[in-house]
Amino acid sequence: MIFNTDVALQNAVNGLLIGGTYATVSLGFSLVWGILNIVNLAHGAFVMLGAYETYWLFTLYHVDPLASLPLTAAALFAFAYPIQRYVINLVIRASFLVTFLLTFGLELLITNIALAAWTADIRSVTTVYSGRSLLLGPVVLPLVRVATFAVAVAVAILLHLLLTRTRLGSAIRATASDQEAARLMGIPIAHVYALTFGIAAATAAIAGGLISLSFPIYPAMDAGYTFIGFVVCALGGLGSVPGALLGGVILGLLQTYTAAWLGPNYDNLVAFAVLILILLLRPAGLLGRVQRFRG
């Protein structure tokens, strides 16, 4: 393959920008896994719900997709909070596989109800600006992707501030590091868990809304995004917000360059080989701390 600087540059941009999407998808997944020790197999389903909500708000009420993001986030927070509080909480101290299976059942439920309600029709949100790009010399910058990346960074910063500068954040981190001590200190554990889960779902919804602008959406789309959450978390470190950003960008760049140099049919091969390597060398991911495996 002849090395072409323009193409390489464009692919750097491509990889970086899709890394932003991957990061936004994974933030919530990482949070829930790192702090609640729950592998939420329904995370991609939340992304899907966020995408559809944005789609319906746009199609039925002409609400701009970027403007409706806070609404979508709030709606999914409200949806996820009771799920954690009254359903997942019932089994949270059982082994990690139990919560895994519960979220698996939830994923089946959510995805198939969505399928029954909205059919398998493939949809996408097409606004006036969704196809626009900025041409900077040899590089094409798709506007929506740039916006997604900016939102990813913004959400990551907000989340980081929440976790480190607010009382709620301290409560969440305290609960994560020592549940018994936190309970003794009077922290309402069930409520804190549910809040964390809700926040994670809200970020998933934001990711979904942004995804609906660039990608086709359909009820079965969730599996791919849950999976991306897995990989990004392992790369970047569980429960680490900057880790999710880093992991997302690394995955995006690895995939893009592999697709460019070896062919699109190899895109995941290199990424996963690197993943295994990183796990062997730094088991907690690049920015994570070694988690005690419970259960």
């Binding site: 089994v91 299976l101 519960l102 399928l115 049919n265 907690a284």
Partner: protein, 317 residues
């Protein structure tokens, strides 16, 4: 030999007798369904060895299923080997791969082990999709089998092997080491148990079963391609079935496979479009009320309701 063991043994022998005679009196559809149940029973038992007994949740078991499937396929199609020989080679290769990858992957724990095994499966998937010898993404057609009934017996053999493994492993010397590793690996190490060989034993046994099932599956369905065999669905089903039936028991995974497959079939009959919704709700309900599996619920004293209530008390925050 307690009376209980004798009774259980007699029951098992009787069940086996019925299973062996089954194709003689049951219709083609039921035989096929039973074969599917045995297949997942074998996979669930296999997962139980490494996930239930040893505490290492493997989500990439399909890597070995794929190795078994493709090895069998390639040897039958291109080297014209008979099925049994090709299957044997497939199983052997799966074990070799498990020993090789296991030395690396089994150093990880918990979640990280889970993701790494998944990554391994996906790497193999893309490798298979890009090699000419596997037919690449188009898949591969194995030679057509002349009759179906042999597959029933092959899968029956697999599930019996799996159940035997699940019964013998905890009672063997390796079994004590493995139990120690599951409960507290660091303490076990302090006590002088070198964990890696035992973990590899469990992992390779799991791989042997997945690989054997893969080979049988390939010949049965005739057509295989990378996404079908290197598919996380197999592992997820195995995990669900084991957890529902009871991890750490010999027959729990098989019972889980029977119940889940039958439920799934009944649900599919009830509603063409909504069967997965019911299935998802069912999984949620079952997991909430029996998080340690039905075997645990049945084992507790005081009847089912009391058992469920105790489970809930133990599990909620």
């Amino acid at each position: 030999m307690t009376p209980r063991t004798l009774a259980l043994g007699a029951l098992a022998a009787a069940a086996l007798g019925v299973a062996v005679a089954f194709p003689a009196f049951a219709g083609g559809y039921y035989v096929r369904l039973a074969t599917g149940i045995y297949m997942f029973g074998a996979l669930a038992s296999a997962w139980n060895l490494v996930g239930g007994y040893t505490g290492y949740p493997d989500f990439g078991g399909a890597a070995f299923l794929g190795i078994g499937a493709y090895t069998t396929g390639i040897l039958m199609l291109r080297a014209h080997l008979p099925f049994a020989a090709a299957l044997g080679a497939g199983g052997a290769l799966a074990v070799l791969a498990a020993v090789g990858m296991g030395t690396l992957l089994l150093r990880l724990r918990g979640h990280y082990f889970a993701i790494a095994t998944l990554g391994f499966m996906l790497v193999l998937r893309q490798v298979a999709a890009n090699l000419p010898i596997t037919g690449g993404g188009s898949g591969m057609n194995l030679p057509i089998a002349s009759a179906f009934t042999p597959f029933y017996y092959w899968m029956l053999g697999a599930v019996v092997l799996g159940a035997l493994g699940g019964a013998l492993l905890p009672r063997s010397r390796a079994g004590y080491a493995i139990a120690a590793i599951r409960e507290n690996q660091d303490a076990a190490q302090v006590l002088g148990i070198e964990p890696l060989p035992y973990k590899i034993l469990a992992y390779a046994s799991n791989a042997l079963l997945f690989g054997a099932v893969g080979g049988i599956y390939a010949y049965w369905f005739t057509f295989i391609d990378p996404p079908t065999v290197f598919n996380i669905d197999f592992s997820i089903q195995a995990v669900v079935m084991t957890l529902l039936g009871g991890p750490g028991t010999a027959l729990g995974p098989v019972a889980g496979a029977i119940i889940l497959k039958i439920l799934d079939t009944i649900l599919t009959n009830i509603s063409l479009f909504l069967h997965n919704v019911f299935f998802g709700a069912l999984v949620c309900v079952l997991i909430i009320f029996a998080p340690r599996g039905l075997a645990e619920v049945l084992r507790r004293r005081g009847g089912i309701v009391r058992a469920i209530r105790t489970e809930l008390e133990d599990s909620r925050v």
